[in-house]
């Protein structure tokens, strides 16, 4: 069942690997429901999850999961959480149903219940027909599903999903995201989805914690973070010698600007009078504006602003 108040709390958590600081003085909370943990590769997302599971001991700080202190009650916490690791992971030499039932037994379920739950969960994640196949023969997408199944089989109150759509084809990815949404919205399971894929987080989660370089750079409801504190425009220009110099001028004027896949850039203009300001800056720089369209802020804009991505 969904916990009232924060499901996960971190207070001043620092994790170091030798001389590298993976998490730097992090204080944040994860509420009930589905929360995204967003950040580029190496931001510290997986380290945070592994710390919450007790795999990594922080050099300082305190963490609580489902109201329990990670340092004091790691086993009680692990009995109530499920973990879907980022990379391939299975117990070798077992077929899917044996593997998932084994995981349920490890979590304390009686043998008969474990086997029954294993069948149910494998059908739920879409592996019903392949449940007697050895896990080692599975495709990448199937391995993602079996990892979800083993994380779910003991009916956790909180699921940690580390890059759940890694390596999946578009159809499989959509199905995985549907499962995550269903778990959070309809089945009362709290979910923390770690991903570097913005659409995945935006589709499955209500709240997001954005990380970069071991720090939390933004957190809150996605809709709230997307509320404009200015306006976002799609802009295409023609400038002698390319748009780079103009981008520099926009940034010097205090505007957030980042290029997209095509030649259109997205410009965030804080405050009022956005379009007028852009025309003035373009005129001053002798740049032709070929396309200017107001745009709705996306999570990508929030992410780009938060991590300062170009």
């Amino acid at each position: 069942m969904a916990e009232p108040g924060p499901v996960v709390t971190l207070e001043g958590v620092t994790v170091t690997y030798g001389t590298n600081t993976a998490l730097c003085d992090i204080s944040t909370t994860f509420g009930a429901g589905a929360v995204g943990l967003l950040g580029p590769n190496g931001a510290g997302k997986s380290t945070m999850i592994k710390s919450l599971l007790g795999f990594v001991v922080p050099s300082q700080g305190r963490m609580r999961v489902l109201g329990l202190d990670v340092a004091e009650a790691p086993l009680q916490i692990r009995a109530r959480v499920g973990y879907m690791p980022e990379n391939d992971a299975h117990v070798p030499g077992m077929n899917a149903v044996s593997f998932v039932a084994y995981c349920a037994e490890l979590s304390g379920l009686p043998r008969v219940d474990a086997m029954q739950r294993a069948h149910e969960v494998l059908f739920y994640v879409g592996l019903g027909e392949a449940r007697y196949r050895n896990v080692e023969t599975y495709s990448t997408g199937m391995k993602q599903r079996i990892k979800l199944a083993q994380a779910l089989v003991h009916d956790p109150d909180l699921l940690f999903l580390d890059e759940p759509t890694n390596g999946m084809d578009p159809k499989g990815r959509d199905e995985m995201l549907e499962l995550v949404r269903d778990l959070a919205l309809n089945k009362g399971v709290n979910v923390i989805v770690s991903s570097h894929l913005l659409p995945d987080i935006e589709y499955t989660c209500r709240d997001v914690v954005v990380m970069d370089k071991g720090r939390v750079v933004a957190h809150g409801a996605i809709e709230g973070l997307k509320q404009p504190r200015g306006r976002v425009f799609e802009l295409r220009v023609k400038a002698a010698g390319g748009p780079e110099r103009f981008i520099e001028q926009l940034r010097a004027a205090g505007l957030e600007c980042h290029a997209t896949d095509d030649d259109v850039m997205r410009v965030f203009v804080p405050g009022e009078g956005g379009a007028q300001r852009l025309f003035e800056l373009a005129a001053a720089a002798s740049v032709q504006v070929r396309h200017l369209r107001p745009s709705v802020p996306t999570l990508e804009d929030v992410f780009a602003q938060a991590v300062g991505e170009e």
Binding site: Y17, F55, L106, G108, F123
Partner: protein, 279 residues
């Protein structure tokens, strides 16, 4: 409308208290091994010496001309020494992949995300080897003792050799615990079970070879502590109250075995982790 909903449902049944997961690991591991015909064959083969000894006891009890075969403490000691070859093969067959395969398949993070501690995981894996190895050492030795009592029709031998029960038990446990822990430690060092097998064979045969060279030079058995199998033999002789076969003091054999167990425990503590950190 489906007659049975195959969707996800919340679990409302009972859950065991934490601290029992080691038995789940041990049971699954033993079941997996016993499902392999080659392993069953190896187990059956390891009981052939038991049959031979049982025939020996039968002959001694029933045929006056076979009195020279009458069992004594040395027979039980010699039986356990004969089983060392099977101890080696079963340890290699069953033990090499116990942790190495889990490391290869990244299973440690699955195990340790469940409500079990690292110590429980190691103990579960240890229990697999312990059970299987005692099956070819302690169990047949104790059965031989029972057969002796049954065929002799009296408790005389048993009562005069009462110390054989703790001797067989303690020596089997020392022998099995040493090789099981050493194998687990080596298994945690690599992701390849084949490489682990080579490492284990190296530990046994290399230490034996080093001692062989030293003995060849010094013509003395005081350095027998260099060989792990010979340390166990020396300990066995002491436990069975038999004249030790090497000139080294028994305490040095105990010390080497204790150090080997401590080193194995240290390696396991370092290597069995939910996350591998390369600093």
């Amino acid at each position: 409308m489906p007659i049975h909903d195959q969707g996800y449902r919340r679990y409302t049944g009972v859950r065991a208290q934490t601290g029992r997961a080691w038995s789940v690991i041990a049971t699954a591991g033993i079941r997996t091994l016993l499902a392999k015909r080659a392993f069953i064959g190896l187990l059956l083969l390891s009981w052939v010496p038991f049959l031979v000894r049982a025939v020996q006891i039968y002959a001694a009890a029933n045929l006056p001309q076979a009195q020279f075969l009458a069992p004594d403490a040395a027979m039980f000691r010699s039986f356990l020494q004969q089983q060392e070859i099977f101890l080696f093969f079963i340890t290699v067959y069953a033990g090499t992949g116990l942790i190495a395969n889990d490391r290869r398949a990244n299973a440690l993070q699955i195990y340790l995300s469940k409500p079990l501690s690292r110590a429980e995981y190691i103990f579960g894996k240890f229990a697999i080897l312990l059970a299987l190895l005692l099956l070819v050492t302690w169990l047949p030795a104790m059965l031989l003792l029972v057969i002796q009592v049954m065929l002799a029709g009296s408790f005389t031998f048993f009562l005069t050799h009462l110390y054989l029960v703790p001797a067989i038990t303690i020596f089997s446990l020392i022998q099995v615990a040493t090789v099981a822990l050493a194998m687990l430690a080596l298994s945690s060092l690599s992701k390849s079970s084949r490489y682990v097998g080579i490492l284990y064979a190296g530990l046994i045969f290399f230490s034996q070879a080093v001692y062989g060279i030293v003995r060849g030079i010094t013509r003395d058995t005081r350095m027998a502590w260099l060989s792990v199998p010979l340390d166990l033999q020396q300990i066995g002789d002491a436990i069975f109250r038999i004249e030790p076969r090497f000139a080294m003091p028994v305490w040095s054999a105990f010390l080497v075995i204790a150090l080997l167990i401590a080193a194995s425990a240290f390696i396991l503590e370092r290597r069995v982790r939910g996350v591998e950190v390369v600093a």
